[in-house]
């Protein structure tokens, strides 16, 4: 209990010092390029009241959910296949290295050039950027599967679905969570670029607009809103999922 309280005090102190430093620096510079926290909070509140921030944030989150889900599903399926079949992996390994090293910006531009400035092209560009990372992580997880447990499942005639859901998936869980966390961090940054280059709504579009107007307070307000949402996803979805899946550990 005392430990928990100490941890909470430390967290509060850390946040307080961060905002104090920001305030101090903003007062010292005294320029529109670094507005103080209170000004940013006011802008944030106004943007919420006008409905502009919830609309653009919602659009970006929708793109995040769709592209994240597609990338995770595709990446897990390909990663498991490559981890299980050596020859398949030998064939596609070079493709993977190529896709891993293509800059995100190139994929985005090519998708817009080939398919037009449409929603599908935007989502596709994000998915193509993320899938190779998921594949690499899940492939390593599949390679590390416990052969003793797989033999047990075969001997006791688990069947394919039971083996996957009770033997393979729990072992892949830490790898899936690692891919999900890094994926979330990577995808939302790519989505902003996608929106900046070819969409007429979303956070990226708004940030581009604020940049042209040199409106740093709005840029910071939107950033704080988005980072808070990502943090909420971590607290409300990812952490409880982790705790539930790993409750068997000592």
């Amino acid at each position: 209990m005392e430990k928990q309280l100490r941890s909470q005090i430390l967290t509060s102190l850390s946040i307080l010092i961060f905002f104090s430093l920001w305030q101090g620096l903003a007062s010292f510079i005294d320029s529109n390029t670094l507005p103080p926290p209170l000004t940013v909070a006011k802008v944030l509140w106004q943007e919420i009241l006008t409905g502009q921030l919830p609309y653009h944030l919602g659009i970006t989150l929708l793109r995040l959910v769709v592209s994240f889900s597609v990338a995770m599903l595709l990446g897990c399926a390909i990663g498991i296949a490559l981890g299980q079949h050596k020859q398949l992996n030998a064939f596609f390994d070079h493709w993977l290295v190529i896709f891993l090293n293509i800059p995100a910006l190139v994929t985005i531009i090519l998708c817009y050039v080939w398919f037009g400035l449409i929603e599908v092209a935007a989502i596709l560009a994000v998915v193509i950027n993320k899938v190779p990372n998921v594949v690499v992580t899940i492939r390593e997880g599949t390679r590390a599967l416990n052969q003793d447990l797989l033999e047990m499942a075969k001997c006791y005639r688990f069947g394919k679905w039971k083996t996957f859901s009770h033997v393979i998936w729990p072992q892949l869980h830490p790898f899936v969570m690692a891919a999900a966390r890094s994926g979330l961090a990577l995808i939302w940054k790519i989505i902003l670029v996608v929106e900046l280059l070819g969409r007429s709504n979303g956070m990226g579009y708004q940030l581009h607009l604020f940049f042209q107007l040199f409106d740093v307070a709005s840029i910071l307000a939107y950033t704080i809103a988005f980072v808070s949402i990502i943090q909420l996803i971590e607290w409300l979805i990812l952490k409880p999922l982790d705790q539930r899946a790993l409750r068997w550990r000592r």
Binding site: D148, E151, M152, C155, F158, A245, W248, R249
Partner: protein, 244 residues
């Protein structure tokens, strides 16, 4: 209950680190009668686990034939591995339910017989090794298999626990009369459990000799009887000392 006829002409092994092929089993002929309890003993690394993997269908890369039973239907096999191989993320009860089609009542009675009723909702990480081994024995028995394979299931257990689990195993076996193939290094354990002992040579593995255990089952708890039989084996078959 099922007859088991094993005829392996040869089984090779290719270690991934070298290109040399090693012959693990050569001209192995073993026949088990229905309901018979047979113990296999042989030097470490001679290929006993490989033989059990072949019998269970996990290893199909060999020359020869395995006949389990007379009928055309695939006989069911219960396999107690050297380590318990329980799914750590499933409770004891879930582990058993996943691997068997036994009714809840049968599982309840087997858990009670193995003194595990209180820990059935526990995860394997919280069990002792002895408890985990007992769970793996229940898993093998619960399907009422035609053939039961046990690969040194009591190794690294302390003597009192091993004795207790051995008695429980015999109790279950006498109730269900499975055909059992039990691998062990411990000659006393083999004499206590088996109808017949089969001694195997080092790699390439083949049968050196077979010895029926003539001690009546009710006298197997008398240590002096076991020791006497063991001494007789060593005096009649001196070459066996090198195989254990």
């Amino acid at each position: 209950m099922t007859d088991v006829n094993i005829n392996i002409e040869h089984k090779n092994f290719n270690p991934t680190t070298t290109s040399v092929t090693k012959k693990v089993i050569a001209n192995l002929d073993i026949a088990l009668k229905s309901g018979e309890f047979v113990c296999l003993a042989g030097p470490s690394g001679c290929g006993k686990t490989t033989l059990l993997n072949i019998l269970s269908g996990l290893d199909k890369n060999f020359q020869g034939s395995i006949k389990l039973g007379q009928s055309n239907t695939q006989p069911s096999i219960g396999y107690v591995f050297q380590n318990p191989r329980l799914l750590p993320w499933r409770t004891v009860r879930e582990n058993l339910e996943l691997a068997t089609s036994a009714s809840p009542e049968i599982l309840d009675s087997l858990l009670a017989a193995m003194n595990l009723t209180d820990v059935q909702q526990t995860y394997p990480a919280h069990l002792s090794l002895g408890m985990s081994r007992r769970v793996s024995i229940i898993r093998a028995f619960a399907n009422d298999p035609d053939v039961l394979l046990l690969d040194e299931p009591f190794v690294s257990l302390d003597p009192p626990t091993a004795r207790q689990v051995r008695q429980l195993l015999i109790k279950l076996w006498s109730e269900q009369s499975h055909t059992v193939l039990f691998v062990t290094h411990d000659l006393r354990e083999a004499i206590t459990l088996a109808d017949r002992l089969i001694f195997l040579s080092s790699s390439p593995m083949s049968v050196v000799t077979e010895i029926p255990v003539s001690i009546p089952r009710e006298d197997r708890q008398i240590e002096a009887q076991i020791e006497l039989f063991r001494s007789k084996i060593f005096s009649d078959y001196p070459e066996i000392t090198t195989l254990l």
